[in-house]
C-alpha cells in the first residue's frame, strides 16, 4: 500500500515537473541580470523595464489585441448562428455538407489552411483588386475562419443540452421566432457564447502559423515578433514578455475558476432551499 502510493506520487511529480519546470525556469530567468538567457548573473527587473520601453513590442501587442478582439467577436456572431442552425434545424438541404464545412478547420493542418488562405487572397487581389496589401484585414479574416468552428462547437453542444421545449413554450405564449431568440435562446446559451468568444480570442492571440502566411510587411503580431526574435537567440526580454503573458492568463483562469465555484455554491444552496420547501 505504502509502496504503491510512493510510486503514484513519483509519477505525478514527474508529470507536473514536465509541464511546469520549463515555465518556472523561464520566469526565473526573466529576472536574470545577465544578457545570456541561461547563465545566472544576479537578480534584476531591468528586462521588464526594457520591455515597456520597446515600441516594437508594444505595437505588436496592440495589433494582436485589436485583431483578437475583432476576429473573436465576428467569429462568435457567425459561430453562434451556425451552432443554433445545426442544433435546431435537423433537416435542411445540404445540412451534412454545411456541418462538414463548418468543422473542417478543426482537423485541417494549419499549414494547409494558412497557405490556401494566402492563395485565396492573392487570387482575389488579382480578380477584384482587393485586398491590395496584406495585413490587419487579411489576418483578421483568416482568424475568423479558423476560430469560428470553436464557437460553433461550444454553442452547438449547449443547444443540444438545452430543452428545445422552452423555445416552443415561448412561441406558444405568443412570441414570434425572433423574439424567442432574443428572450429565450440567447440568454440560455449566453455562457456558451461567452466561453466561445474567450476561446476564439485566445486562439487568435497566440496563432503563429496561419498569421505568418497572411500577414504583410509592417504587420507583426506579438507571437510573430516572439518567433522572429527567438530565431536570433533567446534573450531575457523574451522571457520577461512570456512571463507577463503566463501571469495574465493564469490570473484570468483563477478569476474564472473563483466565479464558477461561487455560482456552483449558490446553486447548491438554492437546491437545498427547494428541497426544504418541498418537505
Amino acid at each position: 500500500m505504502r509502496r504503491r502510493s510512493t510510486f503514484l506520487f513519483t509519477v505525478m511529480a514527474f508529470g507536473f515537473a514536465f509541464f511546469y519546470v520549463p515555465i518556472l525556469s523561464m520566469i526565473f530567468f526573466s529576472f536574470n541580470a545577465s544578457r545570456l538567457a541561461t547563465v545566472w548573473g544576479g537578480f534584476s527587473t531591468k528586462w521588464y523595464a526594457a520591455l515597456f520601453r520597446n515600441q516594437q513590442v508594444l505595437d505588436a501587442l496592440v495589433l494582436s489585441l485589436k485583431i483578437a478582439l475583432l476576429s473573436a467577436t465576428c467569429a462568435t456572431i457567425l459561430g453562434t448562428m451556425a451552432g443554433i442552425a445545426l442544433a435546431r434545424f435537423r433537416r435542411f438541404r445540404g445540412r451534412v455538407l454545411f456541418s462538414g464545412l463548418v468543422t473542417a478547420p478543426l482537423i485541417m493542418p494549419e499549414v494547409i489552411t494558412g497557405i490556401s488562405t494566402l492563395m485565396f487572397f492573392i487570387l482575389l487581389a488579382d480578380w477584384v483588386g482587393w485586398p491590395g496589401s496584406r495585413g490587419f484585414t487579411t489576418i483578421t479574416l483568416a482568424h475568423i475562419t479558423f476560430s469560428m468552428v470553436f464557437v460553433t462547437t461550444v454553442v452547438h453542444a449547449r443547444m443540444l443540452q438545452a430543452d428545445a421545449a422552452i423555445e416552443e413554450a415561448a412561441m406558444d405564449l405568443g412570441s414570434r421566432p425572433w423574439q424567442v431568440l432574443k428572450d429565450i435562446t440567447l440568454p440560455v446559451i449566453s455562457p456558451a457564447i461567452l466561453s466561445g468568444w474567450l476561446l476564439a480570442f485566445t486562439i487568435s492571440l497566440d496563432d503563429v502559423v496561419i498569421t505568418s502566411f497572411v500577414t504583410g510587411p509592417g504587420n507583426t503580431t506579438l507571437p510573430l515578433l516572439i518567433w522572429s526574435k527567438v530565431k536570433l537567440g533567446v534573450t531575457p526580454d523574451i522571457n520577461a514578455l512570456a512571463t507577463l503573458i503566463v501571469l495574465t492568463v493564469g490570473a484570468g483562469v483563477l478569476i474564472a475558476g473563483i466565479l464558477l465555484q461561487r455560482a456552483e455554491r449558490r446553486r447548491e444552496r438554492d437546491m437545498q432551499l427547494a428541497y426544504r420547501a418541498n418537505q
Binding site: 422552452i166 405568443g174 420547501a277
Partner: protein
C-alpha cells in the same frame, strides 16, 4: 365499426358545429415520411370540458396535441377552433396554450416573470399585468415563491408554475401533455384534484394527453381512446368502461376476460350466445344489429362476476377451479380455470371476516361463477 366510434355522438362532419363545440377535428391525418402518426381522426371537443386523449406510447396522442398547438400541420384534414380553420396559423397566433411534459420553464427567469411572459403580447398596462400575475400566483398558491428561479423550487411547484403560465393569457383551449407524469404517486393524486378544481374555477377547456388510464378516468369528462393513430372510441369514463365498442378499448381500460362465440338466437335486446370456451350458452343483452350465426367476442369484467361455493340461481353460471388467487386485504383477485381449460379473472370484495382470512374460496376449491345478462359486453368483430 371504427368509423362510427370516431365520429362520436355529435354527428357527422357535414352538419354545422353546434355552439357548444369549441374544437372540431375533421378527418385529420399526419404523416412523417412513410410513417402515419395520426390517421383519419375526427373529434369534437366541447366548450368547458376536460377532454382526455388516452393511449399507449406511439398511439399518436402527442402528435394530435402538437397539431392543435400549431407545432405540426396536418397532412390532411382540418382543425376548426370556434368554427375558424386553423390551417397555416402559427403557434404564436393561436389562442391555445400548452403545458409541456417537461414543463419547459424558462430557466433564466423568476417564477413571476415566467408566468408574466405571455402577457407582454397583451394590450394591457404594467399595473394590469402585475395584477394578472398576482392573480395567477394566488390561483396556484405560489405567491411566496414569486422571486424564485425554476431550479429553486420543487417539482410540484414547477408543475404549478407551468400551469399558471399557460393560463395567464386566458386561452380558449389549454393543452396538457402528460401533466402528472413527472410527479411521484402521492403528489400525483393530490394534483389531479387540484387540476380539476382550477379547471372548474377558470372555465378553460382542457385537453389532457395521458397514457395512464386511472388519470384519464378521474380527470376527464370525456375520453378518446387512441391506438395506432386512430381513435377507437369516444365517450364518458363510464361509457368507455362499461360499454367499450372494441376489444382494444375493453382490454386497455380495466381488466377483462375475452371469450370467442357465436350468436345462437336473438329476441329483441336479448341474445343467446354460444361460448364454447365456457362450455355453455349464455344469455346477454346488446344493442340491435346482431343476427343469429354472427361471430362475436364477449368480454367480462372481473368485478361483474360473482363467485360462490353453491350453484347460484343466476341466468349464467359456470363451474371452475381456483387456479390462483391474489389476496389484497379488502379484496381478492381470482384466476378460475374452467373445465375447458379457459382462465377467467374474478374480483371479489372480502366483505366478511369468515374463517382465517375471509376469502370466499381457496386454492383448488370448486366454485361457481355467475353473471347477469347485462354484465356481458358483446363485441361484434
Amino acid at each position: 365499426m371504427r368509423a362510427t366510434a370516431a365520429e362520436g355522438p355529435a354527428g357527422t362532419a357535414a352538419t354545422p358545429a353546434p355552439a357548444d363545440v369549441l374544437v372540431r377535428i375533421e378527418d385529420v391525418t399526419k404523416r412523417f415520411g412513410s410513417f402515419t402518426a395520426v390517421s383519419g381522426v375526427s373529434l369534437d371537443i366541447r366548450r368547458g370540458e376536460i377532454f382526455g386523449l388516452l393511449g399507449g406510447s406511439g398511439c399518436g396522442k402527442t402528435t394530435l396535441l402538437r397539431m392543435l398547438a400549431g407545432f405540426e400541420e396536418p397532412s390532411a384534414g382540418r382543425i376548426l377552433l370556434d368554427g375558424q380553420d386553423m390551417a397555416g396559423v402559427p403557434p404564436y397566433a393561436r389562442p391555445i396554450h400548452m403545458m409541456f411534459q417537461s414543463y419547459a420553464l424558462f430557466p433564466h427567469m423568476t417564477v413571476e416573470r415566467n408566468i408574466g411572459y405571455g402577457l407582454k403580447h397583451e394590450r394591457m398596462t404594467e399595473a394590469q399585468r402585475r395584477d394578472r400575475v398576482r392573480e395567477m400566483l394566488d390561483l396556484v398558491q405560489l405567491a411566496p415563491f414569486a422571486g424564485r428561479k425554476p431550479h429553486q423550487i420543487s417539482g410540484g411547484q414547477r408543475q404549478r408554475v407551468a400551469l399558471a403560465r399557460a393560463l395567464a393569457r386566458q386561452p380558449k383551449l389549454l393543452l396538457l401533455d402528460e401533466p402528472l407524469a413527472a410527479l411521484d404517486k402521492k403528489l400525483r393524486e393530490a394534483t389531479q384534484f387540484e387540476l380539476m378544481n382550477i379547471q372548474a374555477r377558470t372555465g378553460v377547456t382542457f385537453v389532457v394527453v395521458t397514457h395512464d388510464q386511472d388519470e384519464a378516468m378521474t380527470l376527464s369528462d370525456r375520453i378518446a381512446v387512441m391506438d395506432k393513430g386512430r381513435v377507437m372510441q369516444v365517450g364518458s369514463p363510464t361509457e368507455i368502461y362499461e360499454y367499450p365498442t372494441s376489444r382494444f378499448t375493453a382490454g386497455f381500460i380495466g381488466m377483462a376476460t375475452f371469450f370467442e362465440g357465436r350468436v345462437q338466437g336473438v329476441d329483441g335486446p336479448s341474445l343467446r350466445i354460444d361460448l364454447p370456451e365456457t362450455g355453455t350458452v349464455i344469455e346477454a343483452r346488446a344493442a340491435a344489429g346482431l343476427a343469429a350465426g354472427q361471430a362475436v367476442t364477449v368480454a367480462l369484467r372481473p368485478e361483474k362476476i360473482a363467485i360462490s361455493r353453491d350453484r347460484p340461481a343466476a341466468a349464467n353460471a359456470v363451474e371452475g377451479t381456483v387456479q390462483d388467487l391474489g389476496y389484497f386485504g379488502k379484496d381478492s383477485l381470482y384466476r378460475i380455470r374452467l373445465a375447458t381449460g379457459k382462465l377467467v379473472l374474478v374480483h371479489a370484495v372480502n366483505a366478511r371476516r369468515t374463517g382465517a382470512d375471509g376469502r370466499v374460496a381457496d386454492w383448488e376449491d370448486r366454485v361457481w361463477l355467475s353473471f347477469d345478462p347485462e354484465a356481458a359486453i358483446v363485441l361484434a368483430e
